[in-house]
Assembly symmetry: C2
Homo-oligomer: 473 residues x 2
């Protein structure tokens, strides 16, 4: 068996191996639409940890790069296929087991976030993290990116709900990190290191999740502003005073795009819409009153409490579909920049200035309550000049966030598309030390090369990273 592919086929069986070019095509890139994906040798569809181990043993024996992949909803190019590599899709790894008495769930990575939520809700429990894409993204991808969402402002991010994991290492060994224990400090926090490592340190094959009791009912407050600065100031005031369970922001472009889709009567001429929630159960309802007061004090031209859960949910849904709605205007370069909340107004104004200077449309939506924002840069691949200006703006928004003491990515991950900016944020020394950790765990550099770290030229043909040209830096 000198043909590596035949060796892989022998190890996994035909059914778990995709080699037809047309069938491989959908696995070449994620929703970031990296313009230069490679054509993988094969896509593998393991069902068990043992099969993932077989893939990694094979890959390390042959020095073949492996791109772990959930549902491909990533927005940073973290699942771009490598030419001649293997895409490892977790789509068939879908087991789930809920233990209501200890409020934990053990899940395989291919389950959708919404399926996890549903499985635990059936037992009266709640898995909080809620990326806007929760109906189409996998829990494994959530763990790999340490995904956020709308409720994170009060309830934290994915990492906060992961108690344990099984991880297959680059050399094919499987290790268990953490476990069904609420407190465990035995040894280095390797669990927390694997979470958010975007498939560069290992392949997560199982997760033990911490759950909460069913969520308390929430009250939704809506506010409309004709000035973005006043809207940002209201957000800061609320975040300083109380702990809202949601605090979301959309600008005029996003409002219009969503209204085009939903026709729910949103004010197209407003500069900003803020949707906030409180699930505080105190009978005095002080949080809702505090939010309404803050909106009024900061000049909202209209503010009200949603009449009921259903009306509140309509506004939350409007926010959640903002990215696909804006995508109807054209392909997007998706930002994920975050800043300390007091600097939110400055970020909003700076992004507006970049849009003006570069003559591009940038819709601005945000998990405003935790300072995490998504400027969405619209471009047109047919229009080379516009596309180039869009890419310049893409980098300038990240430069701005870094200047404001912020981050280039709050919840989507670095992937390939933001990698050139990582060093500006974290500095040479921390990047160098992180790279040492990467090499310690993946000495051949076969795990998702090009994501977070530049691909080691020794490990693949990818030394000219495919995104270096796409973004002008």
């Amino acid at each position: 068996m000198s043909d590596p592919l035949e060796e892989l086929r022998a190890a996994l069986g035909d059914a778990a191996l995709v080699t037809e070019p047309a069938a491989k095509e959908p696995y070449r890139r994620d929703r970031a639409l990296d313009p230069r994906p490679g054509m993988p040798l094969a896509v593998v569809l393991p069902e068990t940890t043992a099969e993932v181990q077989a893939v990694m043993r094979w890959a390390s024996a042959h020095g073949v790069p492996v791109t772990p992949r959930g549902a491909g909803t990533g927005l940073s190019g973290g699942a771009t296929a490598i030419e001649g590599g293997v895409v490892l899709s977790t789509e068939r790894m879908r087991a789930v087991r809920v233990d209501a008495a200890t409020r934990m769930a053990v899940v395989q990575p291919g389950l959708l976030n919404a399926e996890v939520k549903a499985a635990v809700a059936a037992q009266g429990l709640w898995y909080p993290p809620d990326p806007a894409s929760f109906e189409i993204c996998t829990i494994g991808g959530n763990a790999a990116t340490n995904a956020g969402g709308l409720c994170c402002v009060k309830y934290g991010v994915t990492a906060d709900y992961i108690l344990g994991a099984e991880v297959v290492l680059a050399d094919g060994r499987a290790v268990r990190v953490g476990g069904p224990r609420l407190k465990d400090v035995a040894g280095l926090s390797m669990l927390k290191l694997f979470v958010g490592s975007e498939g560069t340190l290992g392949v997560i094959t199982e997760l033990t999740l911490r759950l909460l009791p069913a969520p308390p009912p929430a009250r939704t407050v809506v506010a409309w502003f004709d000035d973005t600065e006043r809207a940002s100031a209201a957000v800061f005031a609320i975040a300083s005073r109380i702990r809202p369970s949601m605090l979301e922001y959309m600008d005029r472009t996003a409002i219009g795009a969503v209204e085009d889709v939903l026709g729910m009567g949103l004010h197209r001429d407003a500069a900003a819409l803020v949707v906030a929630r409180s699930d505080d159960q105190h009978p005095d309802g002080a949080e809702v009153a505090s939010m309404l007061g803050a909106f009024t004090d900061h000049g909202a031209f209209e503010t009200f409490e949603a009449a009921d859960q259903s009306e509140g949910e309509r506004f939350a849904h409007a926010r959640r579909i903002a990215i696909p709605a804006v995508e109807r205007l054209g392909p997007l370069l998706l930002e994920d920049v975050g800043v300390p909340i007091p600097l939110l107004a400055e970020l909003v104004a700076g992004v507006e200035e970049i849009a003006r200077a570069r003559e591009v449309t940038i819709a601005f939506i945000a998990h405003a309550g935790d300072g995490n924002t998504h400027p969405l840069i619209v471009y047109d691949p047919e229009d080379t000049a516009l596309t180039e200006r869009a890419h310049l703006a893409y980098g300038e928004v990240m430069d701005l966030a870094i200047r404001l003491g912020g981050t280039i990515t709050g919840e989507h991950g670095v992937g390939r598309l933001k990698r050139p900016w990582l060093v500006e944020q974290i500095g040479d020394d921390l990047l160098e030390v992180s790279h040492r950790v990467k090499r310690a765990l993946d000495p051949q550099g076969i795990l998702n090369p090009g994501t977070i770290f530049a691909a080691d030229s020794a490990a693949s043909d990818d030394s000219a990273a495919p995104d270096e040209g796409a973004h002008t830096r």
Copy 2:
């Protein structure tokens, strides 16, 4: 300047250097009373990050091991001095800056946990993590061990409140990891890796802490049992149904020791005391009713709600002083084992059996609501046979926890004393991979050698680890 110590003196100045044997003596061990501490060459007392950098540059140039140290309240021998090494005490690093508007605090590591709590409370805010030793332990030590406490059952552990840190690496470089951002996934989660690494990967010189609004008022419920199994069952029932903000356990030995100190009228003949709190603000008071019901259903011979905050605090205080109270019976070997909560009764029974078989006194206290327990083994250094039996019991309790799928340490850390058992819990592969990370960050092995990882013989004279003899394994 060929004398290394003179070089260090030149770099730091006389005032920051302790070399007198008598003055060094209190820095040789922590509260775990490791029986074989080394005599350090010097104790250094830096005030700034730059001074810590100077120490590490000097240490790496000369290959001198460095033991980072907070207040020395550690219970696992994580701050045992190395013969010929340097103890780096953070006691003079005491700056604190609170930003109420963003609910964050930036602190140096030498501040006591209680001082952090007080500084933020002065601005109406709350830093939740509350080790029982909060009045005497440092925030830097809390971060180094990822310390827990009583409120963790609802509010999480130290790592959950650390947004950023400044860390001095083994070679003297200082890096900033994370920062004042509620969501940030740029690069590997190095921040979470440094937290809980017990000084083996770097020296934390600054922390950015996330704060909460002032804590809501809590109601305290007390229950007395004449059977430990029923008490454990009640704990499990409560932890399954609601989210108590405290759920603590003490056995007869601990109750008696505390009563000796406080004389507050505790039932000396009870088998177990459970102290629970709810800070749920729902007006129906359902959580308190649920807890009282669970205690009654599981056969408590007495259960009641504390009349007021002050009575509730008396019971919480009784639990907090349990370790020093039991210490009056003799020196302790302190366990920190955790198990999944359904197995709490089995752990309690197993520890009782070990105490009987080894003829040693073991007091049992626990953060029962998260399955984290502290069997306290009393010994007498004058009685060699008893001391040997106590050490055997110490290992047997950890073996039992591992057999039950638990952890050898929930919140104190591995230190030196639990190191021989770490591999049994996490396995050869994960230990090997963790060691690779350690070497990647500290190739000379100068950072707290002997803690978590066996000291590399190349890096120090410590190849015969001091605890190997003390514990029979």
